[in-house]
């Protein structure tokens, strides 16, 4: 789930970690009631500052994606379908934004991108 964390990115690591968990919950990779790794384990595994994981879990709890039960661990909550869908949409949009940014840097226009997308997927995007 965390294999593509990018410490070089300007997006803080705690935001990246929280985003990975939200997407995993939205896509069903993590199911309600499932336990997340302890903050200590995760910090060690990802070799990040423990405060980074604490912040990520806190944000996830505030957003209603997980709950931390004292002394027991952090659990995935039941997230309404509407919220999950919204999360997937937000993630899709951020993927596209990243693509657009890279393309702009290379001087590739939106039309060319759309054509490339059609070639890659075999689907017609614009009628």
């Amino acid at each position: 789930m965390f294999h593509d964390l990018d410490p070089r990115s300007p997006t803080p690591l705690y935001e990246q970690i929280a985003a990975r968990v939200r997407v995993a919950i939205a896509s069903g990779e993590l199911t309600p009631g499932e336990t997340l790794p302890s903050m200590r384990q995760l910090a060690q595994r990802l070799r990040v500052n423990p405060a980074t994981v604490v912040q990520a879990y806190r944000d996830l709890a505030n957003d209603g994606f997980v709950e931390t039960r004292h002394g027991q661990g952090t659990f995935v909550k039941e997230v309404p379908g509407r919220v999950r869908e919204e999360e997937r949409r937000a993630h899709a949009l951020s993927l596209v934004n990243r693509l657009l940014q890279d393309a702009a840097r290379l001087g590739i226009g939106t039309d060319e991108l759309v054509r490339a997308m059609e070639t890659a997927t075999g689907a017609e995007i614009r009628g």
């Binding site: 410490p7 070089r8 060690q44 990802l46 070799r47 990040v48 500052n49 702009a104």
Partner: protein
């Protein structure tokens, strides 16, 4: 006590060759602080001043809220220190070195030391003279961690170690921090290693502290931007222009390195009749290199 280390106008001179000039440094309690700088920039000298091994010419030093040198004995009891060039007894076995070290520290955690020994793959019966550089490196970290310190001072802790050992060492440090909340002060010239773990950075060059900021602010504040029709003078700019380069890319396009960047500053380019074409993020290492480059005497800046 909100600062684990507090240096005020600290000055130290070694003849005419090298000096530390009025270093002011603040390490927040509970932070992991990366002390960056090239070799010879004054990192180790600063650490030696902190631990009272050398005396400053002027300025004050507080560690864990106490004065150096006045309260050194109480300070050193609570500090786990891994020096750049450690002093060990080659004839000792790992176990003997452990017992020797333990006798100086009342908070010594023997159980944990034993666990770390296994986890780091060290053989207690092996003599230090027969250990590899990596094994010595792991043993020294173990000694510092098992003291259960409030402050870990690590001077180039992973320099010269292979990547596997580096990972083991850093993950043992992080585990300790999770459990005890200790403050960690790491000096290193291996910048990328600190990128994912530090929340504060201080940058040294040539005996001066060039910058001290939260990591995220440092990384996001320095950008490479591409400007079309750039003005001759950038005096009025809301950011600091570290360098500009016309040679790269098409005519009338310049590449600038700026410090203190924030998104709303895009407006500046409209005001001076230029076009901002691109804002490129730099990682910690690039930010570090650009900052050093712009501060070196060759760049019109005073030396």
């Amino acid at each position: 006590m909100d600062k684990a280390i507090e240096l005020t106008r600290l000055t130290w001179r070694a003849g005419k060759v090298f000096s530390l000039d009025e270093i002011g440094l603040n390490v927040p309690t509970g932070s992991i602080y990366g002390f960056l700088g090239p070799n010879g920039s004054g990192k180790t000298t600063t650490v030696r001043l902190l631990t009272g091994m050398i005396k400053p010419d002027s300025g004050s030093i507080r560690v864990l809220g106490m004065e150096v040198p006045g309260e050194l004995p109480s300070i050193l009891r609570r500090v786990g220190y891994v020096p750049e060039r450690p002093h060990v007894y080659p004839a000792f076995t790992a176990r003997e070195q452990l017992d020797y070290h333990a006798s100086f520290f009342e908070r010594w955690d023997g159980g944990w030391a034993g666990k770390l020994m296994t986890r780091l793959g060290l053989d207690p019966s092996r003599r230090l003279s027969r250990m590899s550089k990596g094994e010595i490196g792991k043993l020294l970290i173990l000694l510092a961690l098992a003291q259960r310190p409030d402050l870990l001072l690590l001077d180039e802790p992973t320099d010269g170690l292979d990547p596997v050992v580096r990972r083991d060492v850093m993950s043992a440090v992080l585990d300790c921090v999770s459990e005890t909340g200790a403050t960690v002060f790491i000096s290193s010239h291996l910048v990328h290693e600190l990128e994912r773990i530090c929340d504060w950075v201080g940058v040294m060059d040539n005996g001066r502290l060039l910058a001290e900021l939260p990591m995220q602010q440092f990384k996001n504040g320095i950008k490479r931007i591409r400007v079309h029709g750039a003005p001759e003078l950038a005096d009025e700019a809301p950011f600091t222009l570290l360098s500009r380069d016309r040679t790269n890319g098409p005519a009338s396009m310049e590449t600038w390195i700026v410090r203190g960047w924030e998104e709303p500053m895009r407006d500046y380019f409209d005001r001076v009749g230029a076009t901002l074409r691109d804002v490129i993020d730099l990682d910690l290492e690039e930010s570090f290199v650009e900052l050093l480059r712009s501060s070196r005497p060759t760049h019109a800046h005073e030396g």
